[in-house]
């Protein structure tokens, strides 16, 4: 009835990672909200975005925010699924769908950030 599982697949790593990424996301989210909503222009004009994106460190923060958000969110969805009994084929399908959607949207997001030009270099 019960199969012994190796600690590698116990979910302990994803549990720790969910907390670490969560803490990081709270910090990043505070910055994101202050930046985007302190003034209506800063979140909604092309010039503001262009201005921010001139700094590579800002791009790195944005990419980190996106990657962590995707990881935390998809890991969270998987956590919801894990609360229910699943047939092996369903498990594989769910994981595949999450990974494919996650990678597709992360790559899309990356490509959007990289498409914004550096004005002078």
């Amino acid at each position: 009835m019960f199969k012994l599982q190796s600690t590698k697949n116990s979910g302990a790593n994803s549990w720790v990672m969910q907390r670490i990424s969560g803490i990081a996301l709270v910090v990043l989210m505070i910055g994101h909200y202050i930046l985007m909503h302190y003034h209506p222009d800063s979140g909604h004009t092309y010039d503001a975005v262009l201005g921010r994106m001139q700094y590579s460190w800002y791009r790195i923060i944005d990419l980190t925010f996106l990657s962590l958000g995707m990881y935390h969110g998809l890991n969270g969805i998987w956590g919801v699924f894990r609360d229910y009994q699943m047939k092996p084929w369903l498990k594989i399908s769910v994981i595949s769908a999450l990974v494919i959607f996650g990678i597709a949207f992360t790559v899309w997001g990356y490509s959007i950030i990289f498409s914004i030009p550096y004005l002078k270099s």
Binding site: M1, R19, V26, Y33, Y46, G69, L74, I112, S115
Partner: protein, 141 residues
């Protein structure tokens, strides 16, 4: 499978909504439910967010036309309500980390109440920041 355990109530997955609703709920149970619902909403929003910013690749006019459509009062209000979801998930997330890593099981109900108080204050503050231009205009400043 679980029928082998005699005398232990088994969980019928087909009636999970009914089953879940039948349990007595304390603050922790509500926190668990809200955390789950808000989490699913947030990952849905993240997908939407990537999509809605994709006009950045088509240059200034395309982006600003799209952004102007988000600045209408109903959508601005929706954005404000999104902050409720973000706030709950963040504050409850901090609570979960404290429960797991800082002996928070001893004071998790207090934390739950505090996170609502802090959340409501931050929600109102964000409302003022987001609508400050409209509010100041209303008072003729």
């Amino acid at each position: 499978m679980a029928d082998e355990y005699k005398g232990i109530k088994t969980f019928d997955q087909k009636e999970w909504v009914k089953e879940n609703l039948s349990y007595k709920k304390d603050s922790g149970s509500w926190a668990w439910i809200f955390h789950r619902v808000t989490g699913l909403a947030l990952i849905g929003y993240l997908f939407l967010h990537v999509y809605s910013l994709s006009t950045l690749t088509s240059g200034r006019t395309a982006f600003e036309t799209k952004m102007q459509s988000f600045l209408s009062p109903p959508l601005l209000a929706l954005e404000w309500f999104l902050f409720i979801i973000v706030l709950f998930h963040s504050l409850n997330g901090v609570r979960i980390v404290l429960v797991d890593w800082a002996d928070g099981a001893k004071y998790h109900k207090t934390l739950y109440r505090f996170s609502w108080i802090i959340g409501i204050i931050l929600f109102l503050l964000m409302g003022y920041i987001m609508f400050s231009h409209e509010i100041l205009k209303f008072f003729g400043k």
